[in-house]
Symmetry: C2
Subunit: 251 residues, 2 copies
């Protein structure tokens, strides 16, 4: 790509929008400038542009995003068949399992939720399409990383901040790589309170008819309801069934 094929004003604007995600609610020009590293004058023009287009409100002091901004993310959800195709299968899965079921894809070092069917909702984390979790400590993340060539998976881990969210979190890259191999062999990943105390989940890959992994689905359950060791026995058949149905409909 040539240098002149890049619209830096657009890139700066997108960076400005993302700055809102790192904070809560409202941003002043100076705050936005700090968060983005952009010049105040520049970020101001981006923000005023957002306001002019109705993507943001401006009270003369602070900018806040408006729900119109959801159109952008929705452009993806509407344009991509995957979430729409998966949703009904996920609903069925959640109902039969009696627990939350989700689907996600990998974006860099994170899993991004693209669909979700909720059953019981006694969870502390509020996950909606677009929500992100670090891949290394999420069941779907393990599945998706396992589907990558080893060197790519290793590269992802290398640029992940491997935090121990709980005492159970695996943070050693080699231990994780070994776990990926196990996941690849057995076809599923189980997380036992590695992300959050009290939360277990089991995930399997979603493959298309050529066998390529295009997403992951999981079932999450409170540790109080079910011991992690029993997850596979109880839910793997359901997950595999859903997986098989999806494989047929995904070209």
């Amino acid at each position: 790509m040539r240098e002149t094929d890049f619209v830096s004003g657009f890139a700066k604007g997108l960076k400005t929008i993302e700055a809102f995600g790192e904070t809560r609610q409202k941003l002043s020009i100076a705050e936005a400038s700090k968060l983005t590293g952009l010049d105040r004058a520049t970020v101001r023009r981006s923000l005023l542009t957002l306001a002019e287009l109705g993507y943001a409100d401006y009270d003369g002091k602070f900018f806040t995003l408006t729900p119109k901004i959801l159109r952008l993310g929705h452009a993806y959800l509407a344009a991509t068949p995957l979430p729409t195709i998966i949703q009904p299968y996920l609903d069925q899965l959640a109902e039969r399992a009696g627990h939350n079921a989700s689907a996600s894809v990998l974006d860099g070092t994170e899993v991004v939720y693209i669909a979700r069917a909720s059953q019981r909702r006694v969870m502390s984390i509020n996950l909606t399409p677009g929500s992100r979790l670090p891949a290394y400590c999420a069941s779907m993340g393990r599945v998706l990383l396992s589907a990558l060539p080893e060197n790519e998976a290793r590269a992802v881990l290398a640029r992940t901040e491997l935090r121990a969210n709980t005492p159970y979190t695996k943070t050693d890259p080699e231990e994780l790589m070994a776990e990926f191999r196990r996941v690849r062999d057995e076809g599923y990943a189980v997380i036992d309170q590695e992300l959050e105390i009290g939360l277990c989940s089991i995930a399997v890959p979603v493959t298309n008819d050529r066998g390529q992994t295009v997403a992951a689905i999981n079932i999450g359950a409170p540790a109080a309801y079910v011991v992690a060791a029993d997850l596979a026995e109880r839910y793997l058949p359901l997950l595999r069934e859903t997986q098989a149905m999806l494989r047929q409909v995904l070209r």
Copy 2:
């Protein structure tokens, strides 16, 4: 705002992203140019910028959005307290009602879903945060339009394409205005298969502690399960209870 305080390259880029929402999957440069009305050379630069930043993939022929684009919408959901605050109340509501419960805000002529708790899922429409419906024929839309000053509500209707989605859809502006007055008086709106055959819903406004309407919540049910005339009797108490709790926590 001065003319130079507007970054047209940014505005054009956002328009380009939204073009994906109007179609499915992938866009060529020429298609994107047609959909946006932008010059091919210009839209190409926008698309290449998106690709360079990882918001889009480019196979040399077609551009597709990547899940990274969900960060943008998520910036709103994360930055705005409303969805997060409402979610647990919605979960409880859906569970007690045994039907889907949703929350939305008004964006122009449309309602935008900001949170949702699903119970039964035998619906043809797949609604997630960010989904949009025309306000005039949705229960939450009726509630939100009722909260506007009459002239503003009328103005919204004036720029809405009032389509009869079903034989039951009200499309006469004056009839709708009369309905808004009724909703304002009685504090709830009922939709009986005006959006889609077989789908009924009832909505109430969500107000903050100063009484300002900041959102709407609803319960949707298949017409097969419950007659629209019974919706108020069966679900209004639950909705009012949720409404009262939210009013206390919303400053």
